[in-house]
Symmetry: C2
Subunit: 514 residues, 2 copies
């Protein structure tokens, strides 16, 4: 068992120690996934070679744009690229050679060392939804997200056994000024959870704030020597590296903090409608972004990202859980492994407005593909609704429950004597029953993944209890989880210093709402 049990707390206040013990709530946290099953590889050697050669052709003949970024253009020129205006044409082989200094795996430290994650190799780290401006709850419907919602999602991620990472913008706190909300968001991750987190990328100065606050939390020396943040750098596909995102990347790379270099692709809109064409463009973009990070600082930790969906040609809407997105995700994983880079993709994606069957089909398709494509860092692993416009607490706990399935799948098949179970087959024999046999009794507690949301009750019990659907069960789970929440301990001096920094930083400039 690779699971860590964090601790116990007494539910409710007062009362005898015995009652407290009886009602103790265990907060469990699983270690990140270490796969013992193979990846699914949809491209053969010839296909990979074609796509890799095409990506080099794209970089050399078409090139990429680095708008409003003279510093980047200078770095590229010095590295040997052909720079004309904002356009950077990269000779074949150069970007790939520059990528070689990026580490194939790195540790992201959490303030609780038991929550450290290893990103790369055969590992899979799961993080919550990122970016939704809206929230939908079963009771309130859909509305703009607030800082209170944000804190709720951080608590849910902290309390979710199968979620390894606190994430970043778990929702957009639209009630806080745009130029200050990153401070409140970071403070929430740092104080309400002890899992690793992401930094701000919406402005280079906000990336700097993220590094500064991490210095307060971990100690400046520690942050200089270790990676404590993994932050999301989206590429403005096709082939454009905008100055804001690159500015944030530069701050993080210089501080030796990790970035995800992530083409943001709705196939048919930001990339060709074909799988191979999209993979070619994704590879060209990632090669450029990773190489650029290495130009800024050799050895800076980076992740090969790929956010890919297809488009509904009727409505223009992005679609999720589709076979085309899956083929791209599988293929991109192969390309990432050939570059020896950690890979970010997938998530509990869906287009549905509600946490209904559509949402679940689409999310399960996406989660399965994430596990089997060799993803190392999965953002959006729980809570995503309506194409990422909406975060939902009910969807969050539903998805987080499914993440347990990925953990158990990844364990592979136990072929120990106990796993072979020949004694059980002998004991029971033809026509017998295994429920009572010694082997079953010895193994049943750990044998099967167990849901904490879904319904397995007899029909009559379920009917008597009001015929609850998954949303109703999830509502109950959200309520109980938040009721059980207690924050992880934090040195009061550090907490005070963080609050102090946030207050001073907020007071230093007027609110901006765009």
């Amino acid at each position: 068992m690779s699971e860590v049990i964090e601790g116990r707390r007494a539910r409710g206040g007062g009362g005898a120690a015995r009652r407290a013990e009886r009602t103790a709530v265990r907060i469990e946290a699983a270690r990140f996934i270490e796969r013992r099953i193979p990846n699914l590889e949809v491209l053969d050697e010839e296909a990979l070679a074609i796509i890799e050669a095409n990506a080099e052709t794209v970089l050399e003949e078409i090139g990429v744009n680095f708008p409003e970024n003279p510093g980047a253009l200078a770095l590229w020129r010095d590295a040997g690229a052909d720079v004309q205006g904002e356009r950077v044409r990269i000779p074949k082989g150069l970007a790939r050679a520059l990528c070689a200094t990026a580490p194939s795996t790195f540790t992201q430290h959490a303030r609780n060392p038991e929550r450290n994650v290893e990103i790369g190799g055969r590992n899979l780290v799961l993080a919550p939804v990122y970016g939704p401006p809206f929230v939908r709850t079963a009771t309130e419907g859909r509305r703009y997200a607030t800082m209170d919602d944000f804190r709720m999602f951080v608590k849910l991620a902290y309390m979710s056994k199968w979620v390894h990472h606190s994430g970043g913008t778990v929702c957009e706190p639209t009630d806080i000024a745009v130029n200050k909300r990153h401070l409140d968001m970071l403070l929430a991750h740092m104080t309400l959870s002890d899992k690793p987190y992401m930094g701000s990328v919406t402005e280079p100065s906000r990336a700097t704030d993220s590094v500064t606050m991490s210095g307060i939390l971990f100690g400046e020396d520690f942050v200089q020597g270790n990676t404590v943040m993994t932050s999301l750098i989206n590429i403005n596909s096709p082939l454009t590296f905008d100055a804001t995102m690159m500015g944030a990347l530069e701050v993080y790379a210089r501080a030796n903090q990790a970035t995800i270099i992530s083409p943001f692709i709705v196939g048919g809109a930001m990339a060709p409608v074909t799988v191979a064409g999209t993979l070619t463009q994704v590879l060209a973009e990632v090669l450029t972004g990773v190489a650029y990070a290495q130009l800024v600082r050799k050895g800076a930790p980076v992740i090969f990202g790929a956010f890919v969906t297809s488009i509904d040609m009727n409505s223009g809407a992005p679609t999720f859980g589709t076979p085309e997105a899956a083929l791209i995700t599988y293929g991109a994983g192969q390309l990432a492994r050939r570059l020896n880079l950690p890979y970010r993709s997938a998530g509990a994606f869906c287009g549905s407005k509600l946490p209904d069957a559509q949402a679940a089909y689409e999310s399960a398709n996406s989660l399965n593909m994430g596990l089997l494509s060799g993803v190392n860092f999965m953002l959006h692993a729980c809570g995503w609704l309506e194409g990422g416009l909406v975060a939902s607490p009910e969807k969050f706990v539903m998805d987080a429950d499914q993440l347990g399935i990925l953990h158990h799948m990844a364990r592979g098949v136990d072929l120990s004597e106990n796993g072979q179970a020949m004694d059980a087959i002998r004991e029971v024999g033809p026509g017998g029953h295994f429920l009572g046999c010694a082997h079953t009794q010895a193994n049943f507690k750990d044998a099967f993944w167990r849901t904490n949301v879904l319904d397995y009750k007899p029909f009559e019990t379920w009917a008597d209890e009001g015929e609850r659907d998954t949303v109703a069960l999830a509502q109950e789970r959200v309520r109980r989880t938040l009721g059980d929440y207690t924050p992880p301990p934090l040195d009061p001096g550090i907490a005070e210093a963080l609050v102090d920094f946030v207050e001073r930083r907020k007071a230093s400039e007027p609110d901006a709402f765009s």
Copy 2:
């Protein structure tokens, strides 16, 4: 494109030819899936060898039971097995050697040759749910299934583009006598659809009726020379081959009709709680069943079946879409391929009482595992609810829609010039948009799988239209599909002969309701 378009019909009666043309409904039917992607293999060579050796040990040392079947015991004795009472102990290597005469792939003929399916190899044939005594509809709730329901499901399967097979007991018509319902069921498959179907297995005489009716439909000569039915023979796990099922198997094998030899396993109850232990037992049971079919008639077409779920140790309920069931399904596929046998497993399994998010998570997990484990014949591919107790028309069309995803996934990655799309990347360049480019215009119609159930509308449109969830959308789809239904043409003489046989056969014995 591997899709066959069946024909057109005018919707509604009367009116001008032009109006008919304008409102024509195309009934589309996809060809069975031919995979161009690899299977996921969770067992290495050493693991496979251990499981295979253990299965041989089980057969030799523990053996299997063939109760109330002296004929079977005699066949086994003659073949070299050690028979003591009902117990048959099979020397190592014997069962596997007997299996060698089973074909690795076979054609199941349909009365419309365009609907023939190839079972085996890299193919995947999809068939509807089998066996539910209950039906749940969005309007009526849950109730016993009737023959009218049965006909409805046959029509839905016929009209579903991605469903290749009409199936068997798509629901139990509980309003018809137990000893006669197989006649009405077969008549429905034969007249309301032209897709291939399954025969009755609940009594050897009903298997004989199935062969006789197939003779009327296809011509007796044709049925003697060709496989026109694939029927489901469940093994009474652990290690028991009951006389009724074996009687049906014997009828079909002698008539050269295909059977699925299928252990029916709820892990922890009918097999050990471990994956490797269950695989050992599954293999031992299938080796026995397939070998027995070959003893009855060398070369009889058979399928390596594996119906596997895990158990909820709290309630004792079978659970679906679980990681343990997935690992077993992947492993059993590898064992089947090493035996050179077609493989049956998976389906749109779920434990949920409603077609809600739980149902969809569980079903999507199961469908993905079915595609990637190399399944050749997938029963229960649509319509399954509540652990198989319930068939649901809404779930049927929701699942059937998802089956399109399996088709598109299986296509793999197109690496033609057009697939590489270098012209598109050149044309659009950095910062451009692919929607209008020539390559997108030329490819968008076939580029992406398209749902016919799920919602991709803008939020405002969706809200204005009543915030419909997946069940409401599926209800609409069911209504439209049944409205569009017209039966495939059938020679009136054959139809009459079938009805005549059914009437005479029904009149020949009194109704029995158990």
